[in-house]
Amino acid sequence: MLWEIDVLPRDAALDRPAQSLSSNAKDYGMATEGTGTGFACASARVFLLEGEHLSASDVDRIAKELLVDPVVERFVFAPLGADDLATPPSGWTGSSAPAHLLHVLSKPGVMDPVAQSAQAAIAELGIDPPLVQTCRKYWIAGLPEDRLQEVGYRLLANDAIEQVVVGPLAIDHLEVGRPYRFALQTVDLDSLDDEGLMRWSREGQLYLQLAEMQTIQQTFREMGRPPTDIELETLAQTWSEHCSHKTLAGRIAYSDDQGERQFENMLKETIFAATQELRRQWNADGEPGDWCVSVFVDNAGIVTFDDQHHVAFKVETHNHPSALEPYGGANTGMGGVIRDILGTGLGAEPICSTDVFCFAPPDTPADSLPAGVLHPRRVMKGVVEGVRDYGNRMGIPTVNGAVYFDERYLGNPIVYCGNVGLVPYDKAFGDPNPGDYIVTVGGRTGRDGIHGATFSSAELTSESEELSGGAVQIGNPIEEKCVQDVLLTARDRGLFTAVTDCGAGGFSSAVGEMGEKIGAEVWLEQAPLKYEGLSYTEIWISEAQERMVLSVPEKDWEELESLCASEGVEATRIGRFEPTGRLVLKYHGEQVADLAMSLLHDGRPPVIREAHYQPREVSPLLLPSKADYSDDLHQILGSLNVASKEWIIRQYDHEVKGGSVVKPLVGIASDGPSDAAVVRPVLSSNRALVIACGMNPRYGDFDTYHMAASAIDEAVRNCVAVGADPDRIAILDNFCWGDCENSETLGSLVRAAIACHDLSIAFGTPFISGKDSLNNEFSYTDSEGDRQTIAIPPSLLISAMGQMDDAARAVTMDFKRSGNRVYIVGLTKNELGGSHFSLVQSSGEEHQAQGQVPTVDPPVAKATFVAMHNAICLGTVAACHDLSEGGFAVTAAEMAFAGGLGAEFSLEKIPLAEESLSASEATVARLFSESNSRFLVEVKASATGAFEKMMGDLPHAAVGHVNESGQLTIRNSDEKVIDASIDSLKDSWKRPLAW
């Protein structure tokens, strides 16, 4: 018997899924307003139960005791197909138009965790458990029947795992997958010409380049046999841009306005080289010496923290999956970077997360979207929810982030997810031994996420959604939490010798990397599967989530297995590291692959590229002069990049684990924008981590060198502003760029990398890890039938992890007390190129290309950071905020409204670099220039002398006072240039994204 139980909200006010569908349908332009025939819907949660033994009274009891909350829900049940299951709920007050029925259910064989939990819980009621499947059911009125499929797939279902059924369900039993019949597949590459090779590369979703395909063809010719499908897949995964970073780690001939330069390995000679140079200097200097532990070699970079722990830090991107399925893409992005931390050294414990997103403006008109593009508002909501649900459920606080908006992220949004971990000082390194078992721990392998690594290395097109739906993975954070718990216990008991995560490329990448120096044999049929029907190749390359791979000595296997079993985590031996130097794959004893590890890791032909860069010529920013700039300030506060992100932040648990010291929102009403988060990873100690970031894609339109330098300066000064020691800040690079086959695009990246090198050394701020994501472009055919491509702007995220001895020294950005004096620290220059002031000018685009982009004066910047830190340590500082987007005026406004106080400033006291500016140019520069390395500082009344002494010869000036007026007043030689209430300023800042 197949029963259906519908669980319905007691009244329409409680029907959240229906409310959410209505609002999304409106956002998407699918719902028509109007009484009577307008859009209306109702929903139910559905449980399908199949079992010959199951009586009506059993079903009634299961509903009452397990499935339904009688205070807010009611239920109906009947054999599936019964008429009363199709009738709209009695409370249906929607439209007079007829209601259509629509179901969203998992595709056959897809994991359904709620069903599994329900099944186990039914057994605990003493009822022999039936097969269970869940689905969601909607009654929809006010929409033509032929649009229901579209609504279902656009707004309700994730095509990668779910299907939409319009009308009643017509099934007679619950699917359980079909068995797989083994047949070895080989590929006849030998006969193919270049065109044929490239077609195979594209259509097989290998996304390899011609030279690479030729190398593979030649290698197998020499071996005298054709490659098997799984061998080709393995090579494609390992050689993918995503896994090997072949472009940036390759040979590049670079030229720019400074001259020419040849790189053998671009990353090694810029970013890595800077870290090596710093480590050499520190070692030569003696105490405290080099504080880097493991850089650029593991899943995350590691630096020292206290006498018992090191800290690991990693930021990843998950752009292409998030473009297709924002929730799933961002969800698994967060899950993936957490596994990076779990797979660092012998396993680090995740402490906190950071996330940064780039979207097109959420008010983009729906009818202007090219085919294949999801609306930016839907992308943004989905991404935020995806990050939220993974982080919150794993119990890892998300403490830092940022969001940037630009039209060019329309088809290709950017999702950066980062995680910080704590690792005992003696567990920072791991290496498998020959003879160790290869053990998979955690989730089962399914068909989810096939071809993620190769797909992420390709360009997105309007067809990507159809082609690569299978590349979107599905997360289960509870499974990952269970894996984390047993993994860290096993680490402390010393039960394994190495660990890595199953990320892009699945077992193929994980085993290939771990076994690189030894060799490995894998028994693919041993891998536990979610359902029947996977081929040996699918098992090998599946990117199913929540899996970790361990190398386990034979003597430790039993203890590891029983530890995992005690917490309900599956651990399975799927092979052995064998000292052969070869990767051998078997399926039920049949050999399906035999490749030399050296071919995988060193066999890829070198990529050689040209790169050029020509920075934009500086043209002056020409604007009419004004008497009052209050409107400009309101507009900048209300521009999307600057506006409050409270809607996002409040959805993240930023305090779980109990280590929170400075939260993302601070001030008297807990709604002011903090520069950085301060977290104590060890609860019994006051030693703290400081997490911040810096990024400004708009500067990249002017000069990517200054963009990169500014991003580093911003990340570092954010850390310093809350109290971090500038001599203990580690940073990460994440380059998200367009198509680097284009020499100008690659040139803009190389120039940014050179800035990273220069600033890293000048600041004493080592890069410890990084990741790049290239090919972030979106192609489509426009209404004229022409092919169009949108490349994202150069998007370099710098993530910073600082440290402070005593969390109780931390400083927040809100003004604290009336009467305190306010200082500006740092030199203001006429640098309005790429500024938010130019962005909000009504004359628009012409000004956006004008002006000098902000630059960094490294020695002055470093000295300023050190002086500020000393002033904070001395306890002189009551509040401190960095100057960034919108410059001085925005910083002053934020500090005032966050503190619920007022302030008065004399603009002419702000030290300005240029003496030749006109009066109006000087006013605009002082108010809105985005010059780097500057802070606005409220100094305790008793400490002004000490503070000034700390600042010494560095540019600084007392520029105003905190008062209780509730008004921000900025005078320029007695003329008021800004005069606005903090309530109105705060409102301008909070309103745009208060969703």
Binding site: V71, V114, S117, A121, Y652, D653, L665, I668, S684, K816
Partner: protein
């Protein structure tokens, strides 16, 4: 002086176990974290402890409904052991997801002949929210809240709206002094317990809870469930306004854990 033994229960998806254990240790207790699988196999483990704590998180992913699966496991398989635990004069403490679980176990005495008198359901905002709230405390006979009047703590949940079945249920729990924790704002410092509609506006009442209820105790005062997280306010600089205060004040959340420990001394 002896230190009471605390059993902090872990299940798949529990994630506040470490800091909750730390708070008990700070208060002077000896803590053992026990996985639900172990407890189901040997319920006698309970006998070795004086306090049972169900910490926050997402037990079993909140599949079906928050706290449902773990709540059913406790009700179906450990009911006798847990009732005996309470009747022996021991304490049971559920925080956030732990409260959601307790609501489904019967241990909070909220069921009458017509079924549960109240539930915890989705926030009015329809989404997960994390923010600090101010709570008015009417401790009544609640052991863990003794001596407290007002306390700030963070909430972090999606399904935390306390909803009564009807006015009669509210009257019954109010009359017996079991609505021990209520959300308050500066404007409404002590909410009235008479009306179902909240008196405290959003976001001071972060989820729309009827009668502003944030936590309740059972009839004995030895079982307490609350949505806010006292374990996240045991140090002065966990408070969101600590940098605005002239002096650092110890975290008042710690008092609940200290009360639990003091009860057995």
């Amino acid at each position: 002086m002896t230190s009471p033994a605390v059993l902090v229960l872990r299940a798949p998806g529990t994630n506040c176990d470490k800091e909750t254990s730390y708070a008990f240790e700070r208060a002077g207790a000896v803590v053992r974290q026990v996985h639900i699988r172990e407890l189901l196999e040997s319920p006698v483990v309970l006998d070795e402890h004086q306090i049972l704590c169900l910490p926050g998180g997402f037990s079993y992913g909140d599949d079906i409904a928050s706290g449902r699966i773990l709540g059913n496991q406790l009700r179906e398989r450990l009911a006798d052991a847990l009732l005996r635990f309470r009747d022996d004069g021991k304490l049971i403490f559920g925080i956030c997801n732990g409260f959601q679980v307790l609501m489904k176990t019967g241990l909070l005495d909220i069921d009458d002949a017509d079924g549960p008198m109240a539930t915890l359901t989705w926030n009015d905002s329809g989404r997960y929210e994390a923010r600090w709230v101010r709570l008015d405390v009417q401790p009544g006979n609640s052991v863990l809240l003794a001596g407290l009047e007002q306390v700030d703590m963070p909430v972090a949940h999606a399904e935390g709206k306390f909803l009564f079945r009807d006015q009669k249920s509210l009257d019954q729990l109010a009359k017996s002094g079991r609505l021990v924790l209520r959300y308050v704002s500066p404007e409404v410092s002590v909410p009235s317990a008479a009306a179902l509609a909240p008196a405290t506006p959003y976001p001071a009442n972060p989820n729309g809870a009827s009668a502003d209820v944030a936590g309740i105790c059972d009839t004995t005062g030895r079982v307490l469930g609350l949505m806010p997280h006292p374990e996240r306010f045991i140090e002065p600089h966990q408070h969101p306004q600590w940098t605005r205060r002239p002096e650092l004040v110890a975290g008042t959340g710690l008092r609940l854990f200290e009360n639990g420990v003091a009860y057995f001394r």
